[in-house]
């Protein structure tokens, strides 16, 4: 076990460093100048300060250094737990991440659970009514939700629920995961993975339905409810639940539009803020955290799999 974990950790650190190096290089060589970006008058489209001031500010933030020096400084600070200082917000990036990441994790978790609670039964129902109207309806809705982007469904639902039906206010800010304002953003966020869960469940169910042990269960005279819930659903859920982890990661990292539309101060909005303002420290922190989430999840899955299925070894 120790060898297994140490090998994984080594790969993990190498991979992380590689991601950071590539990301930093892309920002250094590819994106705009964050200092210039600070002083572009959006209305006038022109700079409000002179080159001398820009140079002084580049020096202030260490952006006047060559790439290897900047990257080494960044990694050095990172080793001390310092994610850097936001060029635009004028405060430590770590404090921003500490507040925003948990918000997105809560949203992502609840949206994932909601998507699973809706998606699995729909997938089962579609499989049980294979090639019938209900199946077509469920598959059709899934395809529709998959096709319409969140930045369309979000505002439309908001207008419908807030202005037409008048059953809620525009959610804004963050008042906790149990506040009613969360219902709409979580619902919209759950739309994204829902089709995947429905399709996955439906396909797995169709595969299991033809298995011998199901035919045997029916021959034994077990009620259909027991066959579905006890004999079909369990094996179907294993790959679905496994993918839920990945779904949640993607929701935490990718909830940019939902957080923007519903004005939720989460990780996605922080990502957008970093990108819009070319705020290097924020962009790097977002990439680092996103990468870490994926890596830790994969590590956990690798560790947990052998417990689930002894045929999977840690070789």
């Amino acid at each position: 076990m120790f060898t297994y974990l140490s090998t994984r950790a080594l790969r993990w650190i190498t991979g992380l460093l590689l991601v950071l190096f590539v990301s930093y290089a892309m920002m250094f060589y590819g994106t705009g100048d964050p200092i210039k970006r600070m002083f572009i008058d959006l209305r006038e489209g022109s700079m409000t300060v002179d080159d001398a001031m820009l140079d002084k500010l580049r020096a202030k933030y260490g952006l006047d250094q060559p790439f290897p020096v900047q990257f080494a400084n960044y990694v050095g600070k990172l080793m001390q737990g310092d994610l850097g200082y936001s060029i635009r917000e004028k405060r430590a990036v770590l404090t921003m991440v500490q507040v925003r990441l948990p918000i997105s994790m809560q949203l992502g978790l609840v949206a994932t659970v909601l998507a699973a609670l809706i998606g699995v039964p729909l997938g089962v129902a579609a499989a049980l009514h294979h090639n019938r109207r209900l199946d077509s309806l469920i598959v059709g809705i899934s395809v529709f939700l998959n096709a319409v982007p969140i930045f369309v469904t979000g505002p439309l639902l908001m207008v419908l629920l807030v202005l037409v039906l008048k059953i809620m206010d525009v959610p804004f800010g963050w008042k906790g995961i149990f506040h009613s304002q969360v219902i709409l953003p979580v619902t919209v966020l759950a739309f994204s993975p829902l089709p995947t869960i429905v399709r996955q469940t439906r396909a797995a169910m169709l595969e299991v339905m033809g298995d011998d042990y199901i035919r045997t269960a029916r021959a034994k005279g077990l009620p259909e409810r027991i066959i579905v819930l006890r004999h079909m659903l369990r094996p179907v859920l294993i790959p679905v639940v496994t993918s839920l982890g990945l779904i949640m990661i993607s929701l935490v990292n990718g909830a940019i539009f939902v957080e923007l539309i519903f004005n939720i101060p989460g990780f996605g909005k922080l990502t957008l803020q970093g990108l819009q303002q070319v705020d290097y420290p924020i962009i790097m922190a977002v990439i680092l955290i996103g990468t870490l989430i994926v890596m830790v999840s994969n590590l956990l899955v690798d560790i947990v799999y052998p417990f689930l299925d002894p045929r999977i070894t840690r070789g």
């Binding site: 006038e44 409000t48 300060v49 001398a52 505002p155 906790g176 995961i177 639940v241």
Partner: protein, 575 residues
């Protein structure tokens, strides 16, 4: 197929993960159906030194509850801050709630009104100014605002590490500014504290407009001893900043995008403040802000709400004044627009009325007929340049060194952005060139850098003339002087290569003439005439400026620097 034991294990692990996840959800910023509890990051103001015994007498038509709900944040700007030291940004609209500017312009952008300074005078050649502080002005901690505070504030602003975006334009001519700007010293020798209530300013060159330049919320004095060494933080509520405006920040949470202001208990003005509380939500998304406005969750926003909500809320777009508008500028540095006759042909072949209609089909704009903004006190209301004259345009093209459209080198044009009205306008202009002059060799790109190596060869660019105080001479300097922002800046400048010594002499003479001298206006108008004879600019219209604010928010008025003016007068009328 997994065994029953494996399945049990799986469910155990899955249950454990779910419990862990729920525990995580319960740990972080807690939420209930009650209003949000103070967050760990929330920064609360300390209790004020002196609490007011009673609020001011409300106007007769005031609503019983005086809470103003503001959605701040505009598209493209993702920062939520109230720093008074930056000289720009979304927060500039709200600075005057908290800080009193040195002086400010009235809502007509005509009269200069006292702020921290209540008197000002210059010597004969405008190289020295003396400003007197209104003896009533005091900080929220009860101490008086002094000349040393003003000097200290401006010295801090002049330090480039403060990141004030416009400081050079405001006090760049003050003696000793350059040394502070270059960080050789922190003492600006041209700012002299005569006594606690008097500040003398020495300039390196005459400037009859110096008092106009500093009449902006970008130059608000702060308590220098608090700001020095703590520029990024001193204004936050937990640092108990002393403020001079009618309100003070009570809480500020940059992570949640929420802030509140309450009345300054030591407000020194004769009137107001009337609002019990001002709440800020950071809502840069225009659609979200519009929905909140329609749902009566906010009273005003700066998020660029679409005029389409006018049907539901006809009174929500409140017209405001704004100095300056966008134009298309021809560049004499590039062929073929280096030829006066080509420029003349390109301008006279365009029907600006039609271009205006193409740009603003809904008519929410005004037609431009001259260079100087007609909202400025000095302009030529009756004058209209560049009549649509295709025949004259053809004659000019024939008289050019190219002779005809076939010989004309490629024209490269860019609106510098994707704002639909200007793009439509430029497309219409190109079409007029094709129809009237037969010019088809035109390359159109949204952004200049899309031209790559040919960027310096551009023939037409879009930009607006921006001045932050109502002075036509300054307007002409910005537009037409070789040291102004439209012309200067090398080969990629908007109007690179333009220099008319006659125009420059007139502008410079006007600049040296007192503001209240009629000759200043005459010289400026003459400079405009000479400039228009050079055929450098194509007009396409000036969109109407407005603030999105509910009709019951009274006295909600912004000045030429977009900051609200006389914020102590703002109140919520009964509705």
């Amino acid at each position: 197929m997994l065994s029953r034991t494996c399945a049990h294990r799986f469910w155990r692990v899955a249950s454990l993960l779910l419990v862990l996840a729920l525990a995580l959800a319960a740990c972080v910023p807690a939420g209930t159906s009650q209003p949000a509890a103070p967050q760990p990051q929330a920064q609360e103001a300390a209790p004020a030194a002196e609490q007011p015994v009673a609020g001011p007498q409300l106007p007769a038509d005031a609503a019983p509850e005086q809470v103003l709900r503001i959605a701040t944040g505009s598209s493209g700007s993702a920062s939520f801050t109230f720093t008074p030291m930056r000289g720009g940004g979304d927060q500039q609209s709200w600075q005057t709630f908290v800080w009193m500017p040195p002086m400010y312009f009235d809502e007509e952008f005509k009269d200069l009104k006292p702020g921290v300074f209540n008197q000002w005078k210059a010597n004969e050649d405008f190289t020295e100014w003396v400003f007197s502080i209104d003896p009533r002005v005091k900080w929220s901690d009860g101490s008086p605002v002094t000349a040393a505070d003003v000097k200290g504030t401006w010295e801090i602003m002049a330090d480039p590490l403060t990141e004030h975006g416009r400081i050079v334009g405001y006090i760049g001519k003050v003696e000793g500014f350059q040394d502070v700007y270059e960080q050789k010293t922190t003492d600006m020798t041209g700012l002299i504290v005569v006594d606690d209530m008097t500040l003398q300013v020495k300039l390196i060159a005459p400037d009859p407009l110096f008092h106009y330049r500093i009449a902006t919320t970008h130059m608000n004095p702060v308590k220098a001893e608090q700001a020095r060494g703590n520029v990024e933080e001193f204004w936050k509520p937990e640092n108990k900043p002393a403020v001079s405006g009618p309100y003070m920040l009570e809480s500020f949470n940059p992570d949640l995008g929420e802030a509140t202001m309450v009345p300054n208990p030591n407000w020194w003005g004769d009137e107001g403040p009337y609002l019990e509380k001002i709440t800020f939500q950071f809502v840069p998304q225009a659609e979200t802000a519009a929905t909140m406005l329609l749902n009566n969750q906010i009273d005003t926003t700066i998020a660029g709400v679409s005029p389409s909500i006018r049907e539901q809320l006809p009174d929500v777009f409140r017209p405001t004044k704004a100095i300056g508008f966008n134009n298309f500028w021809l560049r004499p540095i590039s062929e073929p627009t280096d030829d006066l006759n080509v420029r003349k042909a390109l301008i006279l072949s365009v029907d600006f009325q039609a271009v205006f209609q193409a740009a603003f089909p809904e008519g929410d704009a005004s037609l431009i007929t001259q260079m100087i903004d007609t909202d400025l006190p000095c302009n030529e209301q009756e004058m209209s340049w560049y009549p649509y004259d295709p025949e004259a345009a053809k004659a000019a093209l024939a008289a050019s060194k190219y002779g005809s459209a076939e010989n004309l080198p490629k024209l490269r044009v860019s609106p510098r952005g994707d704002w639909p009205p200007m793009n439509r306008a430029l497309e219409a202009i190109v079409e007029f060139w094709r129809q009237n002059l037969g010019i088809t060799n035109v390359e159109f790109k949204v952004r200049p850098d899309e031209f790559g190596e040919d960027e310096a060869k551009l023939n037409l660019l879009r930009d607006d003339v921006v001045v932050r105080f109502p002075d036509s001479t300054q307007y002409m300097w910005v537009a037409a002087h070789s040291a102004g922002p439209i012309v200067s800046g090398g080969e990629k400048a908007i109007m690179a290569g333009y220099k008319n010594l006659e125009v420059e002499a007139l502008i410079e003479e006007a600049q040296a003439t007192p503001v209240d001298d009629a000759k200043r206006c005459e010289l400026t108008l003459e400079a405009q005439r000479k400039f228009m004879d050079d055929y450098m600019v194509l007009f396409f219209g000036n969109p109407n400026s407005s603030r999105v604010v509910r009709e019951y928010v009274t006295n909600f008025i912004s000045g030429p620097d977009v900051a609200m003016i006389e914020t102590w007068k703002i109140y919520i009328a009964a509705h």
